[in-house]
């Protein structure tokens, strides 16, 4: 049920080390999120669009992912332009849209979408288990890493279990409706899954103990930093630098043309 369709590939993003990717992606997103200057946000956003072809990910699949975030952004578009004081641009009925409001909504749109493109190209090009080991090497608490890996492992199992119970109920003519019967059935189904999960959790722990588990998962992949890590770090710092000094660069280019 959980697609990791971006995690296999042969681009520089796929070959780079997960630790490096996590750090540079966070830096990139942080710069994007904390920029309030339209030019700077635009530059950071446009470069984030170029990351997708560099990571050799299909745009179509990414667009599907963008729908979710844009439903929240759309929600804000209904309010922000009309509730921000400033110079009026147009009005619908008695609601006046202001330039400042539209600019803020536009900035949020760019930032939200840009952040997704960065996550998809940097983080989603790593499989979840590798990501867990990267968190381990980045000195996240072992319990946290273990929780992350085991949760990932059980999501599929539990989702399947819920579907199984749901199908059994459907065969008995259970139809989801807005009534107490539906809520009761779903609650009991859910409680049953929780109880089974609880027992499964205990069994799993005992099974792990038998195999000498000491509270930590070990990765057999001894990753060393490679040239690809240098490439993606360079790309990121290049983009951040351009966005920071965009005015100087523009000034310099103008001088050259003259």
């Amino acid at each position: 049920m959980l697609e990791e369709s971006f995690s296999s590939g042969k681009s520089i993003f796929h070959k780079a080390d997960a630790r490096v990717k996590i750090i540079v992606a966070c830096l990139y997103i942080l710069t994007l999120v904390l920029s309030y200057d339209l030019d700077r946000v635009l530059i950071l956003f446009i470069f984030s669009c170029f990351l997708i072809p560099i990571a050799r990910i299909s745009f179509l699949k990414v667009l599907k992912r963008l729908i979710v975030v844009n439903s929240f952004v759309l929600f804000l578009w209904f309010f922000l332009p009309f509730s921000t004081p400033g110079t009026p641009v147009f009005h619908i009925y008695k609601f006046v849209a202001t330039l400042q409001g539209i600019e803020q909504a536009f900035l949020i749109t760019l930032k939200a979408n840009g952040a997704i493109l960065i996550i998809v190209s940097f983080i989603n090009t790593t499989s979840i288990p590798l990501l867990g080991y990267a968190l381990d090497k980045l000195k996240f608490p072992p319990k946290f890493v273990l929780l992350f890996l085991l949760t990932y492992r059980y999501i599929g199992v539990i989702f399947e279990e819920f579907n199984r119970l749901m199908n059994a109920a459907k065969i008995r003519n259970f139809i989801l409706k807005t009534n107490f019967h539906t809520y009761k059935t779903i609650s009991y189904m859910f409680a049953m899954i929780l109880i089974r999960s609880y027992e499964r959790g205990k069994r799993v722990y005992n099974a792990m103990l038998l195999r000498g588990f000491n509270g930590r998962f070990y990765s057999l992949q001894h990753t060393r930093l490679s040239k690809y890590d240098v490439y993606i770090s360079f790309i990121t710092f290049f983009i951040i630098a351009i966005s920071m000094f965009n005015q100087y660069i523009l000034f310099f280019v103008m001088k050259l043309i003259q």
């Binding site: 209904f78 930032k111 983080i123 059980y154 809520y183 999960s197 722990y205």
Partner: protein, 202 residues
Amino acid sequence: MHISEGVLSPPVLITGAAITLVGTWIGLKNTKAQQVPLMAVLTSTFFVASLIHVPLGPSSVHLVLNGLVGILLGFGAFPSILIALLLQALFFQFGGIIVLGANTANMALPAVIVYLLFKKLCISEKRRNRIIGGFLSGSISIILSGTMVALCLFFTGSNFNHAAKTVLIAHVPIMIIEGIITALVVDFIFRVKPEMLLGTEH
């Protein structure tokens, strides 16, 4: 509701991240190594809950169940919800990485609050008390979450006030459903597997 990246102001982001950091630290400290696999299955159940849509009138809402996570895990709700939201951000692009702290705080702090307030009621011998305790845990955690999301938006800028109010109003119908479902789940678990709620190992 997950707030997307690029909306909140730096002070709000930092406050959210700080709450999540402290909560997760306490949560992990209170968790023994042998409880981690157990916590993981509950976390994945919480993750799956967000994929289950329950009909409500002409529309449908997905389950949140952060109150239930609070009742079952206590402070463990923080690491649990943090990881569920991290995986949602990675798989479905809900929320984001920098805003993860704020999103986690919005859901996990109410979970811990209802745990502190209503845990006793949820494990009462009287069925009526358990139902009331469960209903209050489910509904109050949702309305607190809604309030926190609204406050996050409101503290980011006063021009967010209409959006913030709408978010809060949208949480009211969800609050009732979550209350009913949490009450029934808590009661069911108490009758079938009480040690899950009482925390007695054997």
